[in-house]
Each structure stands twice: as structure tokens, then as C-alpha cells.
């Protein structure tokens, strides 16, 4: 019993330390800029929503969120569509060059995005996709698709092949089996994969910033741009930061029961 208590105290302290910087951001987002620069206060003395109002009323701010959401969603859809059949192939069949292909895919997860910066910029400019959501979504496939194949393959391995054979005996065609029988069985795996694809696309900025200028600019780029202009409005910056955390929290809430399994099986 004593052991459990000391463990609980330990984990509570860790979580408190972990949340302090986030609390500080939240705290600052509710302060007026006079209060921020006037001195250190542990909680807002003049509680205000002004910073949030600035973001929700200025299109150049809230468009950033919409842009980020747009390319992240496109990316998750593309990633799942191509990764599902591939993961099935890797989990069920031996084929020419399968191991090499798998490692090659993974090596793209390892490639520093900075390496691909310039060629991506030129590639997408030359085919007229520069500054579109689809360009960022495709670029993010570079690291998300290998990851998705890896996670999904782990989940699919857990489904015995007898199911496949039974379905064929019952007269199911492959596409019908795949969609009607197989996919529902790995629902949680798909959820977890979507979560990781969402997460890695949402947090990435280097590629997203390089491939966009105005129309598809992500919120992160808008935030860094604000730092450059006439001093820093810390309050608005903090509010913008707080708003970028919320989508992630919503998504992880939906997959909370499967995430631990996803880490174990899929070996992210």
C-alpha cells in the first residue's frame, strides 16, 4: 500500500511539472498585454478574452487554423487509403522484395525533412501545386504513410488468417471481404493510426511552411510571422498557442482506450 502511495505522489509531481509550462501559456492568454509586461502574476488579475477575440475575428488568424485542419484531414484520408491495402499485403503475403520495400518505406520516416525542403519546393512549384493544401498533405505522406503501414501491419497480424479463408468459402470477393469483414475487425487499429497520422501532420511545420505562402498557410507559420512584426503581442501569441493544443486533445480523447495498445502492437 505504501508503495502505491509513493508511486502516486511521484506521478502526480511529474504531471504537475509537465503541465506547468502549459499552464503558463494558458495563464498568459487570459491577460492583457499591460499585465503581462507589468510584472509577474501567477493568475490573471484582469481576466480577459480579448486575445481570443482577436484571433476569432481576424481572418488572417483563423484562416491559419482552417488551413492546418484542411491539409491534416486530407493527409489522414490519403494515408489511410493507401496504407490499408499495403499493410494487408505485408501482413499476409511474402512477395518479391517485401523486406527491402519495408525498410525503404521506413527509411523515409527517418529522413530529415530539411533534406527534402528544396526539392519539394521545386517539385510542387513545377506541377502548380505550390501553396495548396494538397501539396502539404502529399508532402506529409512522406513520413505518415510508412508509419501508418507499420502500425496497421501490427494490428492486422493479430487477426488470424482463418477469417480470410472463411470469408472466401462463404463466397465473399476480396474487396467485399476487406471492407465488410476485415476493416471492422481492426477498427481500433485504424483509429490509432488516424490519431498518429493526425498528430505528426499537425505538429510539423518546416515542410508546411516552405510549401505555402498565403492561401494555405498553416497556423504555425502565421505565429512565427507575428513574432517578426512590430514587437511581440505575447497575449495573442499565447492564445494562438492554446488553440493549437485543443484539436490534439479532442482526438486523443476519442482513441484513449486504444492508444496504449497502438504503441505496443504497432511499434510506432
Amino acid at each position: 500500500m505504501r508503495q502505491t502511495r509513493s508511486k502516486n505522489i511521484g506521478i502526480t509531481i511529474y504531471i504537475l511539472l509537465l503541465l506547468t509550462p502549459v499552464y503558463w501559456l494558458l495563464n498568459m492568454s487570459f491577460k492583457t498585454s499591460r499585465e503581462i509586461l507589468g510584472g509577474l502574476t501567477l493568475w490573471p488579475q484582469n481576466f480577459t478574452f480579448d486575445n481570443y477575440v482577436v484571433i476569432f475575428t481576424d481572418p488572417s488568424w483563423y484562416n491559419g487554423y482552417l488551413n492546418s485542419m484542411a491539409y491534416v484531414s486530407i493527409n489522414v484520408v490519403i494515408t489511410l487509403l493507401v496504407a490499408l491495402p499495403a499493410a494487408y499485403a505485408f501482413s499476409r503475403y511474402k512477395f518479391l522484395g517485401d523486406k527491402h520495400l519495408f525498410f525503404w518505406l521506413l527509411s523515409n520516416r527517418m529522413a530529415p525533412p530539411a533534406v527534402f525542403l528544396l526539392p519539394f519546393f521545386q517539385l510542387y512549384s513545377s506541377i502548380g501545386l505550390f501553396d495548396t493544401h494538397i501539396a502539404v498533405a502529399l508532402a506529409h505522406c512522406l513520413f505518415n504513410v510508412p508509419l501508418a503501414v507499420w502500425i496497421l501491419e501490427g494490428f492486422m497480424k493479430g487477426v488470424p488468417r482463418e477469417y480470410d479463408e472463411m470469408a472466401y468459402i462463404d463466397g465473399y470477393s476480396f474487396p467485399r471481404f476487406f471492407i465488410k469483414v476485415f476493416l471492422p475487425m481492426i477498427r481500433s487499429g485504424i483509429g490509432v493510426t488516424a490519431f498518429f497520422a493526425f498528430m505528426f501532420s499537425w505538429v510539423e511545420l518546416l515542410l508546411a511552411r516552405t510549401l505555402t505562402a498565403v492561401d494555405a498557410q498553416p497556423i504555425g507559420a502565421i505565429m512565427t510571422r507575428t513574432i517578426g512584426a512590430s514587437g511581440i503581442d505575447w497575449g495573442v501569441l499565447a492564445a494562438a498557442g492554446v488553440l493549437t493544443i485543443i484539436p490534439g486533445l479532442l482526438v486523443i480523447w476519442f482513441v484513449r482506450n486504444h492508444v496504449a495498445k497502438g504503441f505496443a502492437l504497432g511499434r510506432v
Binding site: K7, N8, I11, I15, L19, T20, P21, W24, L25, L40, V82, A83, P85, A86, A89, F90, S91, R92, Y93, K94, F95, L96, L105, S107, N108, M110, P112, A114, V115, F116, L117, L118, P119, F120, L138, C141, L142, V145, K157, M199, V203, L205, L206, T210, G220, W234, L237, G241, T244, G248, L249, I252, N257, V259, A260, K261, F263, A264, R267, V268
Partner: protein
């Protein structure tokens, strides 16, 4: 599971192959192409062979940032792996408290990387940040924008804050996979806590830990946006890591040939180390 040999499976892999070929092979070939040429403008390119590679390997600035990068990644692993294991051991095993811990600990992972930089930029400032203010209040002179050591410690602390949760969650999932019977057996044997950790938990964590080390090494080796926002690579170039050096060269100075040669060397280092890890993982799998 025994896999059936069937080359028709290629049809299922084809979409992934095409997509990744489009977004990885074409750019990579472009980089290779640049690395052997000196380009003055459109239509004015000259073949220079391995010239750029020689120059890059001899470049003092790049060698410095490579050394910095290895030191940084080394510290990241040394701190985050033990800390992550410790946190995972402390997490409640199940129930609502378990889920709640999981979500709270995952929060830093869900924050866009530039916002991570922004959070610490604010948090560590001496005038408006709780952390910087607190340290100064203790009588220690701390200023991450002016002092090299302080800047390093801040970047390191930020990375520990940001990524230890990943290690912790990986280990947590590894721990949950250990059957309860193992612990019961240990209890009957009156094994000490250390013995349980050393002979039951740690061996079972091996494969998860290999992945954690691999991921942390790779990602810390590519770190760019967080220190860029926090310190801008300074003071001087003391916190300028490889990706930032490369980005400045490619986008800032538009030094195509040199940047391309640098990219390839960079990529090869990462690839070599990831290949070593990958072999280690498959060996670990075989032993199981």
C-alpha cells in the same frame, strides 16, 4: 503467422510505392543531381563531380554543428530513456486514473513544434516567464538568450519536457503487456522490487526500448523548429543544429550544390544508424 508467397500482393502495395516514390525518390534524385553540379542560374550548370562533397566534409562550420548534434542527441538519450522508464513504472496500471494519466502525459506530444518553442520562449524568460523568473529569484544568474550554457540547458530541458512522454508511453504499453502471473510468481518467490524490475520488467521492455531509442535518436537528430523559435540557434551559433545549418544554406543562401551534398551526407548518417537499429530490432524479434 506463416505468410503465403504470392507476388500478386504487389498490386496492394503499388499505391504506397507510387506515392512514396513520388514524394521521396524524385526529390532525392534532384538532390543527387544538384550535389554534383555547380549551378549559376537556369541553363548554367557545370558538372563538378565530388567537389562539393570534399568541400562540405572539410567545412569547419558543418563539422561543428555535426559535433553539437551528436552531443545533443547523446544527452537526449541519456536523460529521456531512464526518466521515461521511471515514469512508466509509476503510472497506474488501469482504470480511469490510467487513462487520465495517459492523456495528461501525452499533451506535450500534441503541441505543434513551433508552439513548443513559443511556450519555452515565454516560460524561460527572466521577466515574464515563471521558470526564468524563479531561477533568477533563487539568486542564480540565468539568461538563455545571452549565455551559451543557459541556452543549451534550456534547449535540452525543453526537449526532455517535450519527448520524455513518448518514451514513457512506449514503456507503459510494454509494461501492460506483461501477464499478471509473472508478478504473482515473483511475489511467491519474495523477489525484491529491484529483482522484479531487473529480471521481469526490463527484459520484457527490450523491444519497446529499442524502438524508443531509435525514435528519439532520429527525431533529436532532425530537431529544427523548437530551438529555432526558442534561441534562433544562438547565442552565436551555439545551439545551431544540423537541420538549421542545412536550411539556412538551402533556403537562406540558396547554395544548391553545397546544400545538396550536405543533405546526402546527413541522410546517409541517419540511414546508417537506422539500419543498425533495424537489424537489432529484427534480431530481437527472432529471439522471441
Amino acid at each position: 503467422m506463416n505468410k503465403i508467397p504470392d507476388n500478386r500482393a504487389w498490386w496492394l502495395v503499388l499505391p504506397v510505392f507510387l506515392l512514396v516514390a513520388f514524394s521521396a525518390l524524385i526529390p532525392l534524385m534532384t538532390v543527387v543531381n544538384y550535389s554534383v553540379q555547380d549551378i549559376f542560374g537556369p541553363g548554367q550548370a557545370y558538372y563538378v563531380g565530388t567537389e562539393w562533397f570534399k568541400e562540405v566534409l572539410a567545412d569547419e562550420r558543418l563539422r561543428d554543428s555535426l559535433v553539437r548534434q551528436f552531443v545533443f542527441s547523446g544527452f537526449v538519450l541519456l536523460i529521456q530513456i531512464p526518466l521515461g522508464i521511471g515514469v512508466a513504472l509509476m503510472m497506474p496500471r488501469s482504470g480511469i486514473k490510467g487513462s487520465l494519466c495517459l492523456i495528461l502525459i501525452a499533451i506535450p506530444l500534441l503541441i505543434p513544434w513551433n508552439v513548443v518553442g513559443t511556450i519555452w520562449q515565454i516560460f524561460a524568460r527572466g521577466d515574464i516567464g515563471l521558470f526564468g523568473w524563479g531561477i533568477n529569484q533563487l539568486g542564480i544568474d540565468y539568461n538563455y538568450t545571452g549565455d551559451t550554457l543557459d541556452a543549451w540547458l534550456t534547449v535540452l530541458l525543453m526537449d526532455v519536457w517535450h519527448w520524455t512522454p513518448l518514451v514513457a508511453l512506449l514503456c507503459y504499453s510494454g509494461l501492460r503487456a506483461i501477464p499478471e502471473a509473472f508478478y504473482q510468481a515473483a511475489e511467491i518467490d519474495r523477489a525484491s522490487k529491484w529483482a522484479v524490475f531487473r529480471y521481469i520488467q526490463l527484459p520484457r521492455l527490450k523491444s519497446v526500448l529499442i524502438i524508443a531509442v531509435l525514435l528519439r535518436f532520429m527525431d533529436s537528430f532532425m530537431i529544427y523548429i523548437e530551438p529555432f523559435v526558442l534561441t534562433g540557434g544562438g547565442p552565436g551559433s551555439s545551439t545551431t543544429f544540423l537541420s538549421q545549418t542545412l536550411t539556412t544554406m538551402a533556403i537562406g543562401q540558396f547554395d544548391l550544390g553545397r546544400a545538396a551534398a550536405f543533405s546526402l551526407i546527413y541522410f546517409l548518417i541517419v540511414l546508417l544508424i537506422s539500419w543498425l537499429f533495424f537489424t537489432a530490432i529484427t534480431h530481437a524479434d527472432k529471439e522471441k
